[in-house]
């Protein structure tokens, strides 16, 4: 995506954006206003609306707004009031991979909280389906603000959204379900021995191949050789042996129990010296 043709397209590019974003450190403090206003026109509601004096005073009514990010609280009053819909409230201060974007939206109907909408780039192209997490009206402002949950790396690229068509909604639902099914299918067989990552399928294959004791299965699969020494898998394997008709679990040799039975370091053992206490 290229923004270097602001003159021709009116789309903010890296140069324009470099004038309206806070420092890395300021971004971490909390929400902030991004004022994407790059044309000198006689317009000053933003600077007049800010109760924190966070938008620097204009030299004249044609001045471009500049934000003092040390003062900006991301309160969003300016965003609701800007007649050019040029102000966005970005919050990337929370931990994790997601942040929020509050953008002015002046059409009816408004989306609903929790609805999935298609996020749009500055050019208006589809980016990806995203979730609406809030709709708000700032007191004294005319334009409602819609809050989208976005991956942090897309917070400065997405500047709009559109509703999904019925077909898109249906497709999305199918995708989600297909994804869920795929997740289950791609999951390997359940893990029986967590220390050594041995699956139920492996255990069953070994039983089918003639391994009819816990100990044989341990030798060939490593199930039970890890730090916990078979605390979980031993019973599961015995259960599987019983299911395979090898015998009752109470009659089965449970396999070896190896000392020391708890994790102790070589250093501790060496220091133990000759004490037999």
């Amino acid at each position: 995506m290229s923004y270097d043709k602001f003159e021709q397209t009116g789309l903010a590019g890296p140069h324009e954006m470099s004038t309206c974003l806070p420092s890395e450190e300021q971004r971490k403090k909390g929400p902030y206003a991004v004022i994407e206003c790059f044309e000198e026109i006689p317009c000053n509601p933003c600077v007049m609306s800010c109760t924190f004096d966070a938008i620097l005073p204009f030299e004249d009514v044609n001045s471009l707004p500049l934000v003092d990010f040390d003062k900006c609280t991301g309160c969003a009053v300016c965003a609701g009031i800007c007649p050019g819909l040029a102000i966005f409230i970005v919050d990337e201060s929370k931990p994790g991979d997601f942040g929020t974007l509050r953008l002015p939206y002046e059409y009816w109907p408004l989306p609903e909280k929790g609805q999935t909408v298609m996020a749009l780039s500055r050019e208006g192209g589809d980016v990806e389906p995203v979730e609406v997490v809030a709709i708000s009206n700032v007191k004294g402002a005319r334009t409602p603000l819609v809050t989208l949950r976005l991956p942090k790396d897309k917070l400065q690229d997405i500047r709009g959204f559109r509703f999904l068509s019925e077909e898109e909604q249906a497709a999305l639902k199918d995708d989600t379900e297909a994804e869920k099914t795929a997740d289950i299918e791609s999951l390997e067989s359940p893990i029986v021995c967590r220390c050594e990552g041995v699956t139920l399928a492996e255990i069953r294959d070994l039983i089918a191949a003639g391994c009819h004791t816990v100990e044989e299965i341990k030798h060939l699969s490593r199930a039970g050789m890890g730090p916990c020494q078979g605390r979980t898998c031993r019973q599961i394997i015995m259960g599987e042996l019983m299911r395979a008709g090898i015998g009752k679990t109470e009659d089965m040799p449970p396999g070896s129990f190896r000392p020391p039975g708890g994790t102790v370091t070589l250093g501790q053992l060496a220091e133990g010296g000759d004490s037999d206490a």
């Binding site: 003639g210 994790t263 060496a270």
Partner: protein, 383 residues
């Protein structure tokens, strides 16, 4: 279970399996391997599974060289694709004192003369190779990069697969209760699952080989001593080579998936077929290893176990037909090296049984050597 067989092998450890596989490859048809529990559950599955060509006695060098070359081509030989995890990171062997260092010089000369590419190292050179080793405890070292270790379970699996592909019957959970003789010749084996008639019976029972020999009325000058071993939690790769010391009394390796496995010998260990674990071993092992490798003090022990060394008085194996029972063959007394010698055992025993000229002269490994003054030079390169 079959009622008759051409050959019955007692013991499905690595030795018995290798003998069976080699006999079958030579065309012997009806082979049954009898196993008290399941393959590899004796010393085979309990050992460190190391293999080295650095020995002090010529025959051991030759036998282990044969085995290294065999394991390097094991999938081709056994015709299957089981990954036996043969890790050839070498063996670094440390000399505790001047006397041992002097012996090591001789060993390296001998090894080199047999085509084994080992080298004699100063403690500083050993340090470069193994930075976590406190070389103030060694006077010298030797190293051979083709030595290494395998996964014993996987190796057993590879031999079991090969055996089954060759039509060998492996009878698990079958206890040998008697060995029948007719006119000084072995004629069959009695088990708790039935009897098998067979003109040839091989005693590959490892720790229990003396008891099997007794069933045939044969005297076998071996005894079994418990040896213990422990394994730690897995950690990032730190040590590529196996480190070993005879005077230092240790062998320690880091296996491919991360844990350290280590063992040591103890003359006070019981010789009554016990395979229990002792606190003393944990204590002694920890002291030995943390002295030599202080960095490992923080490693947690996951478990310890024990197996049996089937010992002879010269620490070398017995490959022979029992004088008391024709057709009854011994492949035992490996003295802690049965795993690494198994390929040679398979090859040489199959040749011995079939009356072929052995690939390596093993006439000195007969049972008669224990009767008079024909004992072999004692192999001192043992833990």
């Amino acid at each position: 279970m079959r009622k008759t067989a051409d050959v019955v092998i007692i013991g499905a450890g690595i030795s018995g399996l290798a003998i069976g596989v080699h006999l079958a490859k030579k065309g012997v048809k009806d082979i049954v391997i009898l196993e008290k529990t399941f393959p590899g559950n004796g010393a085979t599955g309990r050992c460190g599974a190391g293999i080295r060509m650095q020995w002090g006695v010529e025959l051991n060098c030759l036998l282990s060289k044969f085995s290294v070359e065999y394991f390097e081509n094991v999938n081709e030989i056994l015709k299957n694709d089981v990954d036996v995890e043969f890790w050839q990171g070498g063996y670094l062997i440390g000399a505790k004192d001047e006397l041992e260092a002097e012996q090591f010089r001789k060993n390296v000369t001998l090894q080199n003369s047999l085509g084994i590419e080992s080298s004699y190292l100063s403690p500083e050179e050993a340090k470069d190779m193994m930075p976590h080793l406190d070389v103030s405890h060694i006077k010298a070292a030797t190293f051979c990069g083709r030595d290494g270790h395998l996964n014993p379970f996987k190796t057993v699996e590879a031999f079991v697969k090969a055996a089954m592909d060759l039509g060998i019957d492996i009878e698990k959970n079958t206890i040998v209760t008697g060995i029948e003789k007719t006119g000084g010749r072995v004629s069959g084996v009695k088990t708790d699952k039935g009897d098998i008639k067979a003109p040839i019976v091989v005693n590959a029972a490892g720790g229990w080989s003396k008891q099997m020999a007794e069933l045939a009325g044969a005297d076998l000058p071996v005894y079994s001593r418990r040896h213990q071993i422990l394994v730690t939690e897995p950690v990032e790769p730190l040590q590529s080579a196996m480190f070993m010391g005879f005077g230092l009394n240790i062998y320690i390796q880091q296996v491919p998936h991360g844990p350290f496995i280590m063992g040591r010998g103890d003359a006070d260990e019981p010789t009554d077929l016990r395979m229990t674990s002792s606190w003393k071993f944990l204590n002694d092992m920890a002291e030995t290893v943390t002295t030599l490798m202080p960095r490992l003090a923080r490693l947690k022990v996951v478990r310890q176990w024990a197996g049996l060394y089937n010992m002879t008085s010269d620490a070398q194996p017995i490959y022979d037909e029992a004088p008391e029972a024709k057709g009854f063959y011994h492949a035992c007394g490996f003295s802690g090296h049965g795993f690494m010698l198994a390929p040679a055992t398979g090859q040489l025993m199959s040749e011995l049984i079939l009356g072929e000229t052995p690939s390596i002269d093993i006439s000195s490994l007969g049972i008669d050597r224990f009767k008079g003054d024909m004992l072999l030079p004692l192999e001192s390169s043992v833990v």
